[in-house]
C-alpha cells in the first residue's frame, strides 16, 4: 500500500472525482452483468456446466506436465514450431527473434492478455518494431497511450466523445463526431490496410487442445483471423494453463465463455488452428511467468483455471466504481487481484484489499474459482510477509489485545466508548475517512451489556 506510488485506493479516489462518470461506468458494466444473467438462465444445467468446466480445469492442473508434453508433440507433428518462455522477458525476446529472422519490423496483433502481462508492445517498440493492435478497443487504448482497463472490454472506461477526439487526431475522422457506427467504420478501413500490409501477426490463445495440438482463438470482430490468415508468420502466445485435454471439452468451455463474458451465446468466431497454411510459419510460445509458482501454492492454484471471460469484473461492485486502471496490473478486477500478488507481492500488496469480499465474483465465475476466498487468504499472506503498512499493523495489534480481553474491552467501553477508536471504521483514521461522506451512529447511553446487567440480572452467570 505504501510501496507503490499510487495504490488502488488512491487511484480509485482519482476515478471518483467525477461521480456522474462513475455512475455511468457502473451502469454500463452492470448492464453486461444483467445480459450475462439473462442468457445463463436460458441454459438448462448452467450450474452443472460450471461444475464440469471447473472439474476439467482442476484435472488439467493436476496433470499439467503430461498434457503439456502431449500438446507440444501434437503441435509439432502438425507443423507448428513450439517455444517455451520461463518469463516475460524470454517471451518477448522469442517474438523479436522470430521477427528478426524474417526481417519483419511491422506487426499486427489481436488481443492477448498474456502479451499485456509481458508488456510486449513496449519491448517491441523499444526494439524498432511497429505494433498495431487490431481489436477495436485495444486500438483505442493504444492510440490513447493507455493500458486496457478490462480484459474483454479494453476501453470500457472511455466515453465515445473521447474516442471521437482520438480518431479525429489519428485517423482523420470529422471533428466532434462520436457516432460509434462512424468511428467503427473508420477503424475498419484503417485496420484493413494494416491487415493487408503486415507480414506477421501475434494472437492470443483461448484454449489449447492436448489431444490434437490445435488451439482455439475467439473473437467477435474477426481480427485474429484477418491477421492470421493474411500474414506469413503467425505467433500465438499462451500461458501454460490454457491446456484442455480433448477437443470435445471445447463444448463445455465455448458454451460458458461468451455467455459469461458479454451475454452472447458464443463469440462470432471460434477459430480452430491446427496446421499452418502452405508456406506460412506458425509458432506457439508457451509461457510460465509465475504460473508454475502459483501452481505450487495450494491456496491460490485454482486461479490458474481462469478462462479470461471478465465476468468477475462486470459483477464486482468495486471494479465498477474504481475503474480498471485502479488495479495497476494487466489483468484487472478481482481475478487480477489474486493473480498479481503471485508475480510481485510487494508491488501488488494493495490489490487483495480492494474488495469488500462480497463474493459475487465467485458466483459468476464460469470455472468456479473461489476468488473472494483467495482475496482473504492473500491478505493473510501479504501481512505475514510484512507488506502491511506499519500503522495498520499497530492498530490491529491494539484491537486484537482489546478484543481478546473482556477486561480491556469493558474498560474501553466504559471510558466513553473508547472502543470506537478501535472499531473497524475508524482504524487507519488519520483523516477520519468515515466522516467524509457519512455520519456516525448516535452513541447510545448504555451498551447492550450494561442494559442486560440491569434488566436480566438473574440470568447472569
Amino acid at each position: 500500500m505504501i510501496q507503490t506510488p499510487k495504490d488502488h485506493a488512491t487511484l480509485a479516489d482519482d476515478f471518483n472525482i467525477d461521480e456522474k462518470r462513475v455512475g455511468w461506468h457502473d451502469d454500463t458494466l452492470w448492464w453486461i452483468r444483467e445480459k450475462r444473467d439473462k442468457i445463463a438462465w436460458q441454459v438448462p444445467d448452467w450450474e452443472l456446466l460450471r461444475d464440469a468446466a471447473s472439474n476439467i480445469k482442476d484435472h488439467v492442473l493436476s496433470n499439467l506436465n503430461p498434457y503439456l508434453l502431449q500438446f507440444e508433440a501434437n503441435a509439432i507433428a502438425n507443423g507448428i514450431t513450439v517455444h517455451w518462455a520461463a518469463n516475460a522477458a524470454e517471451h518477448n525476446q522469442i517474438v523479436l527473434n522470430i521477427l528478426r529472422s524474417k526481417e519483419i519490423n511491422k506487426l499486427v496483433k489481436s488481443k492477448s492478455m498474456l502479451t499485456e502481462e509481458c508488456h510486449l508492445n513496449d519491448f517491441l517498440a523499444d526494439n524498432g518494431v511497429d505494433v498495431i493492435d487490431s481489436d477495436l478497443g485495444e486500438r483505442i487504448v493504444q492510440l490513447a497511450e493507455e493500458p486496457p482497463s478490462h480484459i474483454v472490454l479494453p476501453c470500457i472506461h472511455k466515453k465515445k466523445e473521447e474516442i471521437g477526439e482520438l480518431f479525429h487526431k489519428h485517423l482523420g475522422t470529422p471533428q466532434g463526431n462520436s457516432d460509434p457506427q462512424l468511428l467503427t467504420e473508420a477503424a475498419r478501413h484503417h485496420l484493413r490496410e494494416t491487415f493487408l500490409s503486415r507480414k506477421a501477426t501475434v494472437t492470443g490463445i483461448n484454449f489449447a487442445v492436448a489431444e490434437t495440438g490445435e488451439f482455439v482463438v475467439c473473437t467477435n470482430e474477426g481480427n485474429a483471423d484477418m491477421g492470421a490468415h493474411l500474414a506469413d508468420v503467425h505467433i500465438a502466445c499462451m500461458g501454460i494453463e490454457k491446456i484442455i485435454p480433448e477437443r470435445k471439452d471445447l463444448g463445455v468451455f465455448l458454451r460458458l465463455l461468451a455467455r459469461s463474458a458479454t451475454g452472447q451465446p458464443i463469440t462470432t468466431y471460434s477459430s480452430h488452428f491446427k496446421k499452418p497454411r502452405e508456406n506460412q510459419e506458425m509458432h506457439i510460445i508457451l509461457v510460465d511467468n509465475g504460473r508454475t509458482k502459483q501452481l505450487g501454492r495450494a491456496d491460490f492454484r485454482n486461479s490458474l483455471k481462469c478462462i479470461r471471460c471478465g465476468a468477475c469484473m462486470n459483477t464486482c461492485p468495486v471494479y465498477r466504481r474504481s475503474g480498471g486502471h485502479s488495479y495497476h496490473y494487466a489483468i484487472t478486477g478481482p481475478i487480477g487481484a489474486i493473480l498479481a500478488p503471485n508475480l510481485d507481492m510487494e508491488k501488488y500488496a494493495d490489490l487483495p484489499f480492494a474488495s469488500t469480499l462480497c463474493g459475487s465474483c465467485t458466483n459468476v465465475c464460469p470455472v468456479k474459482i473461489d476468488i473472494h476466498q483467495q482475496l482473504y487468504k492473500w491478505r493473510q499472506v501479504i501481512v505475514q510477509n510484512g507488506y502491511a503498512p506499519k500503522a495498520k499493523a499497530l492498530s490491529m495489534k491494539m484491537m486484537a489485545f482489546t478484543l481478546s480481553s473482556p477486561f480491556a474491552y469493558h474498560a474501553a467501553g466504559k471510558m466513553g466508548r473508547i472502543v470506537l477508536k478501535y472499531a473497524p471504521f475508524t482504524v487507519n483514521n488519520k483523516f477520519n475517512p468515515w466522516y467524509k461522506q457519512r455520519d456516525m451512529p448516535d452513541v447510545p447511553t448504555a451498551s447492550f451489556g450494561e442494559w442486560y446487567q440491569k434488566n436480566r440480572n438473574n440470568n447472569e452467570q
Binding site: 471518483n16 462513475v22 474504481s322 458466483n363 484491537m399
Partner: protein, 267 residues
C-alpha cells in the same frame, strides 16, 4: 443437554408443543461488539424475540468480538485470543444465536483454537438470527406489526456466505429466509429494488481504506431504496446498516435503517 436438530425435528413432527422442547434448549446470545456498543436496541429485540419463543436465552457477559475486523485485514493470526474467549463463553450452549450474518460466518469459517472438536462444535451450533428462526425453530407465524414500506438489504456474508437467500448470480430457485420472516409481519409493505443483492460497500476496514468507492457503493444502494419508496432499510447485518445509515443521515434522508430483529419483534 444438546437437542440435536434431528431430535428436535422428530419431536416437532410429532406435534410436540415448542415450549415443552424449548424448555431445555439453552441459547447463548452472541452480540457482536459494534451492536453491543452502538445498536443495543437490536440486541434487546433479538433477546426478547428469542425469549418470546420460549427459549432459555442468556448473554455471556465476557464476550467481545468474533475477530473478523482483524482477520479480514490480513491479521487472522492475531485472533487466537478472540477465538479462545469465544469458545470459553459459548461452549456450554445448545445453540449460539447472533443478530449478524457476517460475524456468524466468520466464526463458522475461521474459528481456530488448539481444540478442533471445540471449533467444530461451535461452527455447527452457531446461527444467524433469521436462519435460526426459520431452520431450527421453524417459525411460521409472528405477532409482529410494522406498518411501513421496507426495503431488504441482503448483506453479502449472510446471503453469499450463509446462504440466507438465493444469490442473483446463480441459476437456481429463489428463496430468502429473512424475506420469509418479513412476510409474516402484519401491515409491512416490501419494496422492490433494481439491484436486489448488490454489496453496500461497508466491507470492514474497506469502508475507510477505500473511502471513495465504499461511499459511492453506499450512496448507490441508498438511492435504490429511496427511489423505490423505502421508509426503512432493514437487514441482518448492522455493519451494513450502520454504513447506509451514515449516508442517509448525511443527506438528511427521511429513510431510516432498522435491524430485522426490531421489525420481527415490533408490536
Amino acid at each position: 443437554m444438546i437437542i440435536p436438530h434431528r431430535v428436535y425435528n422428530y419431536l416437532s413432527n410429532l406435534g410436540t408443543p415448542k415450549i415443552l422442547m424449548n424448555i431445555k434448549m439453552k441459547v447463548g446470545l452472541f452480540i457482536p461488539c459494534y451492536v453491543d456498543q452502538f445498536y443495543p436496541n437490536a440486541a434487546i429485540a433479538t433477546l426478547q424475540l428469542l425469549e418470546k419463543m420460549g427459549l432459555d436465552v442468556s448473554y455471556p457477559p465476557n464476550q467481545t468480538c468474533c475477530g473478523q475486523p482483524m482477520a479480514n485485514s490480513g491479521f487472522e493470526h492475531l485472533t487466537a485470543g478472540c477465538n479462545k474467549l469465544f469458545v470459553q463463553n459459548f461452549k456450554q450452549f445448545d445453540y449460539i444465536v447472533a443478530p449478524s450474518g457476517s460475524c456468524v460466518l466468520h466464526i463458522k469459517e475461521h474459528i481456530h483454537t488448539s481444540n478442533h472438536e471445540d471449533d467444530k462444535n461451535i461452527s455447527n451450533k452457531i446461527y444467524e438470527l433469521t436462519e435460526f428462526l426459520t431452520d431450527v425453530l421453524k417459525v411460521t407465524t409472528l405477532s409482529a406489526n410494522f406498518p411501513y414500506k421496507v426495503g431488504l438489504h441482503q448483506s453479502c456474508h449472510g446471503q453469499r456466505g450463509l446462504h440466507l437467500a438465493q444469490m442473483s448470480e446463480l441459476v437456481a430457485a429463489p428463496y430468502s429466509k429473512p424475506q420469509r420472516l418479513l412476510n409474516m409481519v402484519q401491515n409491512l409493505e416490501m419494496i422492490n429494488l433494481k439491484r436486489k443483492d448488490e454489496c453496500c460497500g461497508f466491507g470492514g476496514t474497506f469502508c475507510v481504506a477505500e473511502e471513495a468507492v465504499s461511499a459511492k457503493m453506499g450512496k448507490d444502494r441508498v438511492a435504490d431504496h429511496e427511489n423505490n419508496g423505502a421508509e426503512y432499510i432493514t437487514g441482518v447485518d448492522l455493519s451494513c446498516l450502520m454504513h447506509l445509515e451514515g449516508i442517509l443521515k448525511r443527506k438528511n434522508s427521511k429513510t431510516k435503517v432498522i435491524h430485522i430483529a426490531e421489525i420481527l419483534n415490533a408490536s
